[in-house]
Every structure is written in C-alpha cells, then in structure tokens.
C-alpha cells in the first residue's frame, strides 16, 4: 500500500476509534433536523421563502448538521496535525500526501454526515431527488470541512475553533436560506450559498441548478487550495 493509502486508512481508523465522535455523527443530525423543523413550524410563514416553514426549517437543519460536523472534523484534523504531521514529514512523508489523507478522512465523514442528515430529513419530508440532495449536502459538508481546516490553521484551539464554527455555520446557513434579507452580494459569497440552493432544489423540485453546482464546486476547489496553504503553515512546526 502507498504512503497515502496507509495514511488515509490509519486516519479513518483513528476517527472510528473515538466512539463519542462516531456516536455524535449518528445522533446529532436527527436531533438538529427536528429541532430546526419544529422551531420554524411555529411561524405562519418565513420572510424570503415560499415553502412550508417546517420543511424550510428541516432543510436548514439538515444542512447545518452535515456542514457543522464536517467542519468540526476539519478543525480537529488541522489542530491535531500540528507537530505530529511535521514529524512524519521529517521522516519522509510528502506534505500533499499528508494533507490528502486528512482530506480523505474529512470527506468520508462529510459523506456519512450528509447521508445521516438526509435520512433524518426524509423521515418527515418527501425528498424529490434523493441522490442530488445527497450530493448537495455532501458538497456543503465538504466546503465546511475545508473551512474547518482554515479555522484550525488560524485558531489552533479546539474549543475556540468549535465556537467560531458553530456561529459561522449557523449564521451562514440562515443567510443562505434567504430568511434574512442582507443583500445579494453578501449572501452569494457565503460558503453555503450554492449548497443550500442545490439542496433546496433537489428536495423540493428534484432539479439540479447547473450554475449553483459549478459555483459550489469552484468554491470547494478554492477552499482546498487555501486549506493546503494553511495546512503547510500549521504542520510546519513554527508557532502561529
């Protein structure tokens, strides 16, 4: 097996061996979907949206759960990379290979979080295009997983980084939903703008807006490049 393959396999093993994290991955999405759904169902209508408030709330909740969980994994991967990955790099492992193994771990968790969130949503909402909905959720989770790596590079502390992420994802998600009218430009640069549009379309209409799909993939690609730069800085051993 290659160095990358060994690294990716062992990173996933590390993740699975933390039962609390794995349990949260399964328990949190259904809770969040229901809490968001029930909270918003109490409103007769939501500004900026035309759909049923309960359904809108559950869509926002599913995207929040997938994105936040993946973001946390990205954050923790970046924080734990400090020191240990540098030692492995000094032993001969390439930086791209090291980051690749961590991205594979984060992307796998993002896919699982997306699947669990979608399953939680599908219990109460009829999803028009499940595969497209899964893809949109996974894209949102991937975007925040990479965002987590960036936050971890700038703020290499698990508690503080988690707090930043939870507020960022929550605000971003509500912004992307259109419930708050804060102006088009601000909303369009929000990380979840494209994934939210894709997810909502997949759940309600069964369509895949190509512009949002391309925009979301481009956003993720830019974040991946930024994450690489941040990772090199984080794993480089110099104090931040």
């Amino acid at each position: 097996m290659s160095a990358f393959g060994t690294g990716a396999r062992l990173r996933l093993l590390e993740f699975v061996r933390e039962p609390t994290t794995a349990a949260l991955l399964l328990v949190l999405p259904p809770v969040v979907v229901e809490v968001y759904g029930e909270a918003m169902a109490s409103f007769p209508a939501l500004p900026g949206t035309t759909g049923d408030p309960g359904t809108t709330g559950r869509i926002i909740g599913a995207l929040f759960a997938a994105a936040f969980l993946a973001g946390l994994v990205g954050l923790f991967q970046a924080v734990s990379a400090r020191g240990t990955d540098e030692r492995l790099h000094r032993c001969g492992a390439g930086r791209a290979s090291l980051l690749g193994a961590r991205v594979v771990t984060m992307a796998t968790v993002a896919a699982v979080a997306a699947a669990v969130s979608l399953a939680a949503l599908a219990r109460t909402v009829d999803v028009a295009a499940p595969l497209a909905a899964f893809g949109a959720l996974a894209l949102g989770a991937l975007v925040y997983g990479l965002f987590g790596v960036l936050v971890g590079a700038l703020l290499p502390r698990q508690l503080e980084g988690s707090l930043v992420l939870v507020f960022l994802v929550d605000f971003d998600n509500v912004l992307a939903s259109g419930v708050l009218d804060v102006g088009g430009t601000v909303a369009q640069v929000a990380p979840l703008y494209h994934p939210h549009a894709l997810f909502e379309a997949a759940v309600t209409d069964g369509t895949v807006p190509v512009d949002h799909a391309l925009g979301g993939v481009a956003y993720a690609a830019v974040l991946l490049a930024l994450a690489f730069v941040a990772y090199v800085r984080v794993a480089g051993g110099e104090p931040a």
Partner: protein
Amino acid sequence: MPNIEGAAARPNGESGETSVEGDAATDADVPLRAEGIEKSYGSRLPFTDRVEVLTGADIEVPAGEIVGIVGENGSGKSTLMKVLVGTLNADDGVVERAGTVGWCPQESLLYDRLTVRETFDLFGEAYGMDGDAVADARERLASRLDFERFLDYQVRNLSGGNRQKVNLSVALMHDPDVLLLDEPYTGFDWDTYLAFWELSETLVERDTAIAVISHLINERERFDRIYELRDGRLHREEEQ
C-alpha cells in the same frame, strides 16, 4: 528523505525561511555540524520584548560519538534540537547534515489512536522501508526495549514510559546515521535506561552520530563530549 538527508541549511534573513544549498558539505566523519545558530522569539503584540534564545551556538556531532547537551530549564535546548532537526528555522547560522536523521522529540509526537504496530507501519512507510524491514525493526526494538506485549495497544493507552519507548523506537527504526534525542530516557525504569545505553553503544559501534539533550546528565562517562548551553551559546566541557 529529502528534508533531512544530506542538506546544508542556511536561513535567508528577514523571512526566516531556510534554504537548502545543494548536497551535504559535511564530511562523513562529522555528519552533523551547526555554526553560529541564532534564534529569538517575538510576539506580534506591541510593547512586548523579543526573547533571544540562541545567540551563536556552534556544535559538531562526529560519527561514532555520543554528544551530550545540557542546560538549565528554559536555556533553549529544545529550540536548538528543533533547529538541528530542521523543524524550526534559525534566524541566522548554518546547519549541515549528512546521511539519514532520526529524531526523538521531548514531547512524544505520535498518533494517540493508532496502535504501536500501526505506528511502526506509518513511520516505516514514511522512511521508505518495505514491510519486512518494518516488521524486523519493530520486533528488534520491541524486544530490546521490552514493549512486545504492547504492540496492539493504542498509543493513548500506554504508560508514560512505554509511550517514550515507542517515541524513541520511531527515531531508531530506520538505522539513521545521525540520531538526535531530546530527553530520551524520561520515564524509563532502570532496566530500560540500561537497555537504552546498550542500544546507543551498539549504534556508536556502527558509526552513528548521537546527540542527547538532557537537563540532567548523571553518568558523564557515557558521553564522548558534553556541551553546556548557557547564555544562548554552547560551551564544551573539558574532555573526559
């Protein structure tokens, strides 16, 4: 292992980045040499002072010798070690290394949720060792340092002493030409301490250059030369 093999590194001024200048200038008799190493730490906050840690440290670690580096707490020993290994850029000075390097950091930089066996696999892969060579090194070092029965334990479940044995073994497993050990026998029981010195003497017979950093050196006769780090410089003690 391009980063730690046969490189002469010189910091290039303001950026603090270290550039590598071609092949090793160091001869085989002295595989590790550092001259005029300077390093200070500052803060980005205003009205805070820079702390000068190294102010022109020179050291030679010849092949087949054990060199001790002592100094008070906070004298800069670990900073010097990081500069010698290459994980920290010096502000000024030259570090020349020839051959492969093994590094045992003071803080055991290992992956907590991997087993000892998996740790060997991961680092062996990074060193470019094949499966048989990794298995051979694992069995040899586990037997010598007496941690065979812990091979399938996760690192987080090891005692401090056993964790340190694995930390040391990772530095030794590829039979390096230069061995840099930062407080290597912290937490060792007496038998393991003696096993460590037997192992070191075997390596010295094979012309390995060994540098041991410790805040306390009791058995001075075990060292071929001893440097004391004081006021940012290394002072060689009288030959034994």
